[in-house]
C-alpha cells in the first residue's frame, strides 16, 4: 500500500509545480462560467414556466463545475501514461512488484487532485464576491455540505475508474485520441455538463440516471445547491458505491486481459 501512497505523493508534488498553467486555467474557467451563466439567464428570462432547478441553484452548480473541472472531466488526461503505453516504456512498469491498475489509479487521482487544489480556491473565492445573481453561495447547512463532500469524493473515484478504462483501451487502439474523444464527449453530455440534467427531457433523464457519469458531477453539485434532498442523496451514495465496485471489477479484468496480449516493440 505504501507504494501507492508514495506514487500518489510523487504525482501530487509534480502536479503542484505547474502554477502558471493553473493560473491560466483559472482565467479560462471564469470565462466559461460567465458564458454558461449568461446562456442560462437568457433562457430563464424567456420562459414563464417554473423550471425544475432555480437559476440561482444552477449558477452555483456552474461555479462548482468550473472550479472542480479537474475532478470531473473525462478528457482530463495524464499524457505520461499515454506515452508509456504508446512508446513502450510500460516495460518498466511491468517489471515492478506491484499491481499496474493500482499504480496508475493512484497516479491519476493524484494528478486530478493536484490540479483541482490549485484551481478551486481562487475560482470559488472570486465567484462568492460577485453581485447577485452571479454570486456563489454557501450551502444551506452542514449536512448538505457533508453529503456534497462525500458524493464528490466518491464521484472522483468513479471518474478515475472510468478513465482507467480509457487508458486500457489504448492497449488495443494504440492511439491516445479515439477513446479519449468518444468518452470525453459522451461523458460530458451524460454528466449534464452541457445541458443540466434537471433541464433534460424525461426520456433522456432516465438514460442519464442509469449510467455512471452523472454521479461524478451532477449529483454532488446539485446536492450542494440544494436541488437534491437528503433522501435521494443517501440513496445515490449507494448507487455510487455500486458503480465503483462494478467499474473496478471491469477495469481489473480488462487490464489483465490486455497485458496478456501486450507486445513491446523495438529495442
Amino acid at each position: 500500500m505504501s507504494a501507492y501512497i508514495s506514487l500518489f505523493k510523487m504525482r501530487l508534488m509534480q502536479g503542484l509545480q505547474y502554477q502558471v498553467a493553473a493560473f491560466a486555467g483559472v482565467l479560462t474557467q471564469f470565462f466559461w462560467g460567465f458564458m454558461y451563466i449568461m446562456i442560462y439567464q437568457a433562457f430563464y428570462q424567456s420562459t414563464t414556466n417554473v423550471q425544475p432547478i432555480s437559476l440561482h441553484q444552477l449558477i452555483v452548480v456552474v461555479w462548482l463545475q468550473q472550479s472542480f473541472l479537474a475532478l470531473i472531466m473525462l478528457w482530463f488526461r495524464d499524457n505520461e501514461i499515454i506515452s508509456l503505453i504508446l512508446k513502450g516504456d510500460i516495460a518498466y512498469e511491468l517489471c515492478r512488484p506491484a499491481d499496474l491498475y493500482g499504480f496508475w489509479y493512484s497516479r491519476l487521482i493524484a494528478q486530478r487532485l493536484s490540479s483541482a487544489l490549485l484551481r478551486f480556491v481562487p475560482i470559488l473565492l472570486v465567484a462568492s464576491l460577485l453581485p447577485y445573481p452571479y454570486r456563489f453561495s454557501l450551502p444551506d447547512n452542514v449536512i448538505t455540505f457533508l453529503l456534497f463532500l462525500i458524493t464528490l469524493f466518491l464521484g472522483l473515484i468513479i471518474v478515475v475508474a472510468i478513465s482507467m478504462l480509457i487508458y486500457i483501451s489504448m492497449f488495443y487502439t494504440l492511439s491516445g485520441v479515439g477513446s479519449l474523444l468518444i468518452f470525453g464527449v459522451l461523458g460530458e453530455f451524460l454528466s449534464g455538463l452541457i445541458i443540466p440534467v434537471p433541464l433534460m427531457p424525461h426520456s433522456l433523464k432516465i438514460i442519464v440516471y442509469l449510467l455512471p457519469f452523472r454521479y461524478c458531477s451532477d449529483l454532488p453539485f446539485r446536492i450542494y445547491a440544494g436541488n437534491i434532498g437528503y433522501h435521494e442523496a443517501i440513496l445515490s451514495i449507494f448507487a455510487q458505491i455500486f458503480w465503483i465496485i462494478l467499474l473496478f471489477l471491469i477495469g481489473k479484468l480488462w487490464i489483465k486481459k490486455a497485458l496478456k496480449r501486450v507486445v513491446i516493440q523495438g529495442g
Partner: protein, 325 residues
C-alpha cells in the same frame, strides 16, 4: 539459476504493398505475416556469471530479455528463473530481478533523481538500512553524488544511464538484465558503466545478462557469450573459444628498408604491399607466427613489426556471414 528451454515466440505483422490502392484494399482485407522472433531457444546460466547476449538487430535479443523479465508471454517453452516462471508469478518474481532497457527510462522526468529512488524504495519495500547501504554503494561506484538532486530532464545521457542502472539495483536483485546499457554513451561513461557491472558482479555475486552491439563491452565483461540470429542460438561458449575458433587469423604489419619485389611466404596472404610496408594475413592453424617473423627477418631489413589479432568486431561479422544472418 536460469534455465530456459524450448522458448518460442512469434509476432503477427500487418503487411501491405505500397500505394494508395493497396492502402484502400487493406481497409477490407488485411494480410499478416508471422515473424518467428524466437525459435526453440534453450540455455542455462549459473549464479555469478556474466553472459553477453549478442546478435544483429532483430535477432530476438530483446524479446528474450522481455520474456525473462516477465513482460512478454512466450508461445511455447519453459523458463525457470530462481524457481519462478517469470510470466506466471510476475509480481513475486520481479522483486528478484533488476532490468535496464537502454532505450527507455524509468526515472521521473520532472523530479530530482533521488525522488525516483525513494519511490522505488517504497515500491520494492526496501528497508531503510538496506536502502541507505545500497544508495551509498551506488553513489560511490557510479559517481552519482553530484547528480542525485538534479531533475532527470537536465541530465546528460551518460549521467541518466548511470542513474538508470543505479535505480535497477536499489532493491539488491539477484539477477540483472541489461538491454543495451551502453547505447549512445561516450567512452568515459561506457568504461564507468562496465567497471560498475564488474564490481557488483564480483562483490554482490549478481548474475548479469547483457545485450549489446558494442563488442568491447563483451570483451571487457563477459566470459561467456550466446550468439543469437534469426531467433535461434548459433553459438554458446566462452569468448576465448570463439576467438580460437574464428580468430585464428593474425595480421602482421612489417616496415622495412626498400625492396624491389614482394617476398612470398607460404600459408600467408598479402593484404597490402608497398616497397616499404607489407601487411600479411597469417592463418595460425597452418603456420606459426614466429615462423613468419623468422622468414621476414631473414629476407628483409626490418624497422618495425606488429602482430595484431583480428578485432572481435570482424570475427562477429564473419560469424553473421557464416550463419547467414
Amino acid at each position: 539459476m536460469i534455465e530456459v528451454s524450448g522458448l518460442s515466440k512469434s509476432f503477427k505483422v500487418a503487411k501491405r504493398k505500397p500505394g494508395l490502392l493497396q492502402a484502400m484494399k487493406s481497409l477490407f482485407y488485411r494480410q499478416f505475416t508471422t515473424v518467428h522472433a524466437l525459435k526453440d531457444i534453450s540455455f542455462n546460466v549459473n549464479q555469478g556469471e556474466i553472459v553477453g547476449y549478442i546478435g544483429p538487430n532483430g535477432a530476438g535479443k530483446s524479446t528474450t530479455i522481455k520474456i525473462m523479465s516477465g513482460i512478454l508471454i512466450p508461445d511455447d517453452g519453459k523458463c525457470n528463473i530462481l524457481g519462478y516462471t517469470p510470466w506466471k508469478d510476475r509480481k513475486h518474481y520481479v522483486k528478484n530481478i533488476g532490468v535496464v532497457f537502454g532505450q527507455r527510462s524509468q526515472l521521473w522526468w520532472d523530479v530530482p533523481v533521488i525522488d525516483s529512488f525513494h519511490l522505488l524504495k517504497d515500491i520494492y519495500k526496501i528497508t531503510e538500512t538496506d536502502f541507505k547501504d545500497n544508495l551509498e554503494l551506488l553513489t560511490e561506484t557510479l559517481d552519482l553524488s553530484e547528480i542525485l538532486n538534479t531533475p532527470v530532464r537536465q541530465l546528460s545521457l551518460g549521467q541518466r544511464m548511470r542513474c538508470e542502472i543505479g535505480a535497477s539495483l536499489l532493491h539488491s536483485p539477484k539477477i540483472l538484465f541489461l538491454d543495451e546499457p551502453t547505447i549512445g554513451l561516450d567512452a568515459v561513461s561506457k568504461i564507468a558503466v562496465r567497471h560498475f557491472i564488474k564490481t557488483i558482479n564480483q562483490e554482490k555475486k549478481v548474475t548479469v545478462i547483457l545485450t549489446t552491439h558494442d563488442m568491447s563491452d563483451i570483451e571487457a565483461l563477459a566470459k561467456r557469450i550466446i550468439l543469437i540470429g534469426k531467433g535461434q542460438i548459433l553459438l554458446d561458449g566462452t569468448l576465448s573459444e570463439l576467438k580460437s575458433k574464428f580468430g585464428t587469423e593474425k595480421v602482421i604489419t612489417a616496415d622495412y628498408s626498400r625492396i624491389k619485389e614482394p617476398i612470398d611466404i607460404p600459408h600467408t596472404k598479402i593484404l597490402s604491399y608497398s616497397d616499404e610496408r607489407l601487411q600479411l594475413a597469417v592463418d595460425t592453424k597452418q603456420i606459426k607466427v614466429s615462423d613468419v617473423i623468422t622468414a621476414l627477418s631473414q629476407n628483409l631489413e626490418l624497422y618495425d613489426l606488429t602482430v595484431d589479432s583480428r578485432p572481435i568486431e570482424e570475427i562477429i561479422i564473419d560469424l553473421y556471414k557464416e550463419y547467414q544472418i
